[in-house]
Amino acid sequence: MADDRLIIAGREFKSRLWVGTGKYKDFVETQKAIEASGADVVTVAVRRVNITDRSKDNLLDYIDPKKYTILPNTAGCYTVEDAVRYSRLARAAGVSDLVKLEVLGDEKTLFPDTAGLIEAAKILIKEGFIVLPYTNDDPIVAKKLVDIGCPAVMPLAAPIGSGLGIRNPYNLKIIMETVKVPIIVDAGVGTASDAALAMEYGADAVLMNTAIAGAQDPIAMAEAMRHAVHAGRLAYKAGRIPRKLYATASSPIEGML
């Protein structure tokens, strides 16, 4: 597995578990959980700097951009204009051309507005961004995103923060067969088995935040997720046995009395 590297837009990633940085108790916990997860891609949101209270620490004091790939996202953006604006701000803040593009359709489900997503992705790709789109588990939309130049797609497993696990494994499988770019399952994972399943289905990576940050012991869960993603990947590469209705004995009949 040493050469089992994930490559997106010419960039090489060591870890197939990517993590978010929200909802932690504090930056120390964030840092410890990320370290335990083994992730080398860390997604961050773009927000106004608190100008009245400058005593607050900066997230990047705890997550070294030299050590991790910082993946800015457009979380909270409900329009194409906002998503494009936040992406440009993220790039101007100087991390990279990468963006995890979110154009949300609805506050209750946080499902992506896929029409808006495609429109925003087109604009950003033209401006040289490497757009990793948070999308629905819709193979047609995934194909459209790849056709316009997204080097990977990030379909959801379930609504963001829901912990429901993979609600539509068959669609995910169809996406994996439809597009020839890396598939990063983003959002909806609840526990380690969900992450392992995503990888067993053939996902190239899994991105999660709440499943780790919201666990009773986030650092232990981060470690569990690291093992789950690794185990799932190994199982996928090893090739599972087919499911059968009836038993097949593991011991030979030969030599029996």
Binding site: G22, A45, R47, T52, T210
Partner: protein
Amino acid sequence: MQNAVNIHVNGEPRTWRSGASVAELLRELDIKIERVAVELNLEILDRAVFDQRLLQDGDRVEIMSFIGGGSS
């Protein structure tokens, strides 16, 4: 206050010294330049021009940075 400009910084009204640059504003607010993006009246500024762009009356400055967040 004479020689002052009324501006908005991250949505908050502020009175600032007339003739001050964006770079000076950041410095006086104790904000590290390398960690932020600055939008002046909806135009994202290149860092190279922070010390050339002087604040004008009515300017709306947005200073943005990265915070913890996963998906939305």
